[in-house]
Amino acid sequence: MREDPPRPWRALHALPEPPQPSAIPAPDRRAVLRGAAASLALAAAAGCDAPDNFGQPLYSRPRGVAREVSWFATALELEGLGRGVLVRNQAGHAVKVEGNPAHPASLGATDTYMQAAILSLHDPYRSRHAREGGRPRPPLAAEAALAEAREALAARGGAGLRILTGLVASPTLARLIGEVLDAFPGAAWHQYGPLADDGALAGARLAFGAPVAVLPDLSRARAILSLGGGVLEEGPAQLRLARDWAAAREAGRRAGHLPSLLVAEATPSLTGAKADRRLVLRPQEIEPFARAVAAALGVPLAAPAAAAHPDAPRIAAALRRAGPEAVVLAGRGQPAAVHALAHAMNVALDAPGTTLRYADSPYARPEEAGASLRALAEAMAAGEVTHLLVLDANPVHTAPPELGLPGLIRRLPFSLHAGLYLDETGLACRWHLPLRHPFEAWGDSRAFDGTATIRQPATVPLVEAARGAEEILAALLGRRQEGATGLGEALVRETWRAAWQEAEFEARWRAALEEGVVEGTALRDRPARLREGWDPGPAPAPPAGTLAALFAPDPGLWDGAMAENAWLQELPRPLTRLAWGNAALLAPSTAEALGLAPGDEVELELRGRRLALPAWPMPGHAPDTVTLPLGHGRPTAGLEGGGGFDAYRLRPADAPWTAHGLVLRRTGGRRMPIATDHHHEIRGEEIIRTVAPGEELPPHRPGPSFYPPWPYPGHAWGMAIDLDSCIGCNACVVACQAENNIPVVGPEEVARGREMHWLRVERYFIGAPENPDTAFQPVPCMHCEKAPCEVVCPVNATVHDAEGLNTMIYPRCIGTRTCSNNCPYKVRRFNWFDYARGGDGVRVANPEVPLRIRGVIEKCTYCVQRIGAARAQARAEGRERLRDGEVVTACAQACPTQAILFGDINDPESAVARAKREGRNYALLGELDVRPRTTYLARVAQAPEGPAA
C-alpha cells in the first residue's frame, strides 16, 4: 500500500510502510532472545542464592535475595580513559551501574555504555574457555604456552615479540607493559583504537610540539566554537563536558543571556543539535572555515583562507566578544591542521587559563594509533614478528582491510588474543584467553583529566577461566601469585605502593577504593606555547564532483565493541532513530539528486572496495557526503551479527575519517533499516516550546473537571524535564531499561513497533531539511492527575496511589490495551509475547522490580521501587517525610546534564517544585487538561551571536 519510508516533511499521503523485517540482515527473534539471554543470566545471578532454579518470581522479591545492597566504586573505560561508576551489588551480584559523583569524568552521571556494561558482564556469550585454534583448552595449557613463549623469547632478548593493546592510560597496565619491554628489549608495544583521535594528537604536536591534552572547562565558556562536533557526543569526557555546558547554560538563563554554542559540522551530531548556531559544512570545508575564523581573530597564518566564509566574521565576532571566555574545540576525526587552528584560536582568544587548560596526555604513551598499527602490520609482513599478544582489542575487525591483518596474524607462529568475547581477532589468533569484565577484575584507570581510579571487582567472577590483562602480562613475565592477595590485586597494589609512602599506603588504598578516585592524581597544568610555523598551510582541495565518505562512531555500538549488547543494539540512535543496524547517511538534497528514497540499497565503492547498504537521508547532513557509522555488521557477534553493515570494510588506512572519491550506485534493491521513528510532521509550537531568555510562557489554567480533585496531603511526586538541557544522549533510556527490567524484543519486533522502552527520547526536526533545528524530548509516563488510562480500564488495573502515582497493577491487568488507546502520550507498552519469561526469553536484573508476563501492559512507574526503598530508609531513621533528593529516578540519576528533576511537588522548596514554578514550565498536550505530573521546561533560544550588545 505504501512504499515511502519516513521523511519528516512529506505530504500526508506519503507515509512510510511498516518496514519488512525480512529484508534486513538482522538476527531472528530467537537469536535475539538467545543473545539477550545476558539478562537472563543477570536475573539468575540476582536470584542465584536461592536454592530453586525457577527464575525470578513475578510479583514478589525472589526468595533468598537479601535486601542488603552494597556499592562498589570502580571505573569503566572508553578509549582507555576511565569514567567512575558505582556498582550496586545485591546478594553478591552486580545488578546496576550508577555514576560516581566523586569522579570528574562522571559527576554521578552515566552514559549509555556505562549503563549497558552490566548486561555485557552477564552475557552468556562471553568467552568462557581458553582456546587453541578455536578449540577449548584447559587454562593451564594456555599458561604453559605462555611460559614456553617466555623461554623462547628470553633466549633472543624478546626479538619478535609484539604487544597490541587499545589506548592505555591505566598505570598498572602501562607499568607491566613497561616491565615486559624491559625484560624483552627486542619487543615492541603497539596501541590501536579504531576511533583514536590521531588528528588531535598530531594537531597538538603541530601546535605545541608535544602531545598536550586540552582540558576544557565549559562551565566558564560564554562562546564555544565546535569544529566538527566533539562536545556533547559520546566520548571519554562527554559527561563532564555536557555537565559543564549545561551549568554554563543554566547560569546564562538566569543572567538573561545565554552562552552560545557554535557548531560547524558535516554529520549531524548531538553537539550540532544543541547548537545555538549550526553551520552545515562539507568535511573539506571545515578547515577553510576554521582558517577564515582564525584569520578574522587575527591569528597569524601561513596562508590566509582561500575564500572568506560568509559566516566566519560573525562567528569570529561572537568569539571575540566572549574573549577569554570563548573556546574553540575540534571534534574527533578532524585533521591535524583543524586541531592546530583551534589551538591557535584559543591562544589568540586568551582562553588558556579560563575556559581550558593544558596538561600532559593522560595516556601512558600517546601515539598515533593508525601509524602504530601500520608499523605492526609492516613488521608482521616483513616476518619480524614471531609472538603477538593482543590484549582487549579486536584489530581484525576494526583495522583497515588493506593492512591484511587477518592473514598476517594467522601466519604467526604464536599469537594470543585476550578478550571478553571470542571475536574475529580471537578466531584469527592461535590462542584465545577469556578476559575478565572490568567489574570482575582488579585494575586501575585514569580519566581524561588524569584522575586515577582503582578498579575493584564489584562481583564474583562469572567466568572461571577469565584473567585480567594485567595477569596475562604478569604470566608472560613469569610472575606468580604470592601471599594471600590475588595476583590481580597484588599487581595494582604494587603500582600504587611505588607512588605512595609505605606508612600511609593502607589508608590511602582504602580511601581510594571507597571514594573511587585517587586523591591528587588529576593532571597538573603544563605550559604550552604555540610553536613557530605550526600552520601547515591549507590542505589541498579534494577532486571536485566526488562524494566524500565520513566514518563515524555509532552512537550505540561505539567502535563495534558494544555490538554484543542487546540493550545498545535496540537503543534508537539519537538522531537517526535507527535500531539494530546502520545505514549510509546522506543529505536529503543529495539523496534527491541521486534519486534515492530511504531504504534504497546503494553500493558504495571506495578505492576498489565495495559495500552494499541502505541509504538513509538525514536532515541537516552536509551535501555530497556519506556518513558511515562504524561497528555494525559484525560476523561473529553472539547476536548473530546484529543488523547493519560493516563500514570498516571500506575504511582506508591513510584516511580513516574522511575519504574522498566515494562512488555510489543504486543497486535497485531495497533494504529498509529498522527505524523507530515515523514522524512525518510536527505541530512544533504545541509539543516543543521555545522561549527567548527571560520570556515566560502564558500560564495554563486548568479547565473544569467532572470529578472532584483528589487531595494529596503527603508527598505528591512529580517530574520536570528541562528541554533546554537535554542533549538527547539516551543515557536515561538505558538507565530505565536496566533499572526496570525492561525486556529486549529484537529487530523484528522493533520493526513492528513493539519496542518496550518505558522512556523514549523523541527527536523533532523543526525547519528546513537542509539545516533544521533539532529538539529532543524524553517522554516517560506523565502520571496525569486526571489519568485518561484509568477510567477506561475495565478491571481497575491501573489506578492512582495516595501520592499521585499512576500505578499499573500487573496481576490485575487482563490486557485489553484500552489504556494505551486512551493515553495521548502513548507511553504504555504491551507484552505481546512472553518477553520476560518465555522459553529462552529475556530475563532481567533488578530484583526490586517485578517481571511482567505476557499479555499485560507496563509503563514508567517513576521508579516506585526507589520511592519505597527511600521511604523504608526514612522510617528506619524515624522520619515520616522524605527529604528532597532522597528519591532519584533511574533516568534522573543517569542524566549527564541533570535535565530531569524528580521530587515532591508538595514541598515548595524541592528542586522539582521550583522548576515547575519557572516561567518555562509547560505540560505536553496541556490543552487536554489531563494535568500531567511530568512537565517540561521550554527550550531557550536567542540570536546565535548573543544578545545585542
Partner: protein
Amino acid sequence: MSGAQGGIDTRRIADVALAPRFGRGFLAALAAAALGVLLLCYAVVVLLVVGLGVWGTNVPFVWGFDLINYVWWIGIANAASLFAAVLVIRRHGLRTAVNRFAEAAALAAVLAAALYPILHLGRPWLFWWVFPYPATYEVWPQFRSALIWDFWGIMSHVVVTSLFWYVGLIPDLATLRDRARREWQRRVYGLFALGWRGSVQHWARHQAAYRLVAALVLPLLLAAQTIVALEFAVTLVPDWHQARLPVHVVGTGIPSGLGVVLVLAVLLRATLGLERYIDDADMDLLGRLFAASALACALIYAGEIVTALLENPRTREAFLSRAFGDYAPLYWGAAVLTTLLPQLLWWRRLRHIPLVTVPLGLGAAAGVWLDRFSLVAGGLVRDHLPRIGPLYAPTAAEWILLIGTLGLFVLALLLFARFVPVISMFETRHEESEREAP
C-alpha cells in the same frame, strides 16, 4: 396439525429439517465450514499458547482485526436482528419469509462476534474479571469503562438474540416433533418445543412473548451498537472522540446486515427450492430496503465529512488523514461499497437478478468491514502526538482467525438450515389463513 391449510403447504419446509439426507452439496458446504472452524481452533490455540504477538498490532495500533471484526460481526448481527424485530413488531408480510433466517444469521454473527472480545485480551482466561463478582479483594470492575458497558451490551445481545430466535421457533419445533418419523427426532424436537400443544392459550402467550422479546430487541440493539461505538468515542483519540460515532456505527451496520440477509435469501431460494415462500415480492421489498439503508448510510458519510470539517483542527486533520492518508483506500472502499453500489437496486430489474444482488449484498458486508478497519486503524494515524511507530497491517494469524469465524458463522447457519425450519411455518400458515379468511 395440518400444513395444508389454505393455499400453502408448509410441509416442504418441515421436510427439509426432517430429511434423513441432505445431499452432497450440503455435505461439501458443511465440510468447508467445519474446516473453517478447525482453522478457528488452530488460530485460537496458537493465540493462547504463543500470545497476541502473532497479530500485527503494536503501539499505538493496539487493536486490529480483533476490534475490526468484532464491530463488524456485531453490526451484521444487529442489523439482521433489528430487521427481523421490526418485521415482527410491524407484522410485516415479509416477516414470514425472512425473519427466521435473519434471526439465525444474527445469532450466528453474535456468536462469531463474541469470540473476539475474549480472544483479544492479553490474558483471555481472565475475561470474567469484567463481571462484578464478589472478589475476596473487593476489587470491582471499573464501571466508568466503556469496555464494561460493552460487556453488558454483548451479554444482553446474546441473551436477547437467542431468546428472540428461540421463542419464535417454539411452535415450529412442535410441528417438527409431530412430523418426526424417528423416535429420537421426536424426543429432541419435543424437548425444545417445551411441551407446545398449540392451544389457544399457548398461542396467546407465545404471541405476547414473541412480540415482547422483539420489542426488547429494538432498544437493546441500538444500545449494544452504540456501546461498541462508545468504546471508541469516549477515548481521547481525536478521530474517535466524536458524538456522531454511535450513529455512524449503527447506521452503517444496517446495509451490511441487510446485505447478508439478502444473500442468504437468494441462497435459500436457490438451494432449498423455497421460491414459493420467499417470493419475488419479498425479494423486491428486501432489495428496496437494502438500497434505502445504503442511502441512509450515504447521509451518514456526508454528515461525517461535514462535521469533521467543522470540528477542531486536530479532529479535522485526523479525519482528513483517515480519508486521504495511509488507510484511504479503506475509507473510500467502504464509502463506495456501502453507499453507492447498493443504489443500483433502485432498478426493479436488477433486484431480481441474483448475480447482481448477491455481490452487492456481500459487497456491503465487505464495505462495512472496510469501514471498521478504517475506523480502528485509520483513526489512530493522526493522534495528539506525531505517530512514532509503523502502521498496522494484519498478519496471517489474524486472517486465519477471521476465516475461522466465517467458518463458524457458516457452520451455524448450515446446521440451522439442517435441523430447524428455515422459514417460520406458523407465521406462513398464519399469513395464508389471514389472507384466505375474508
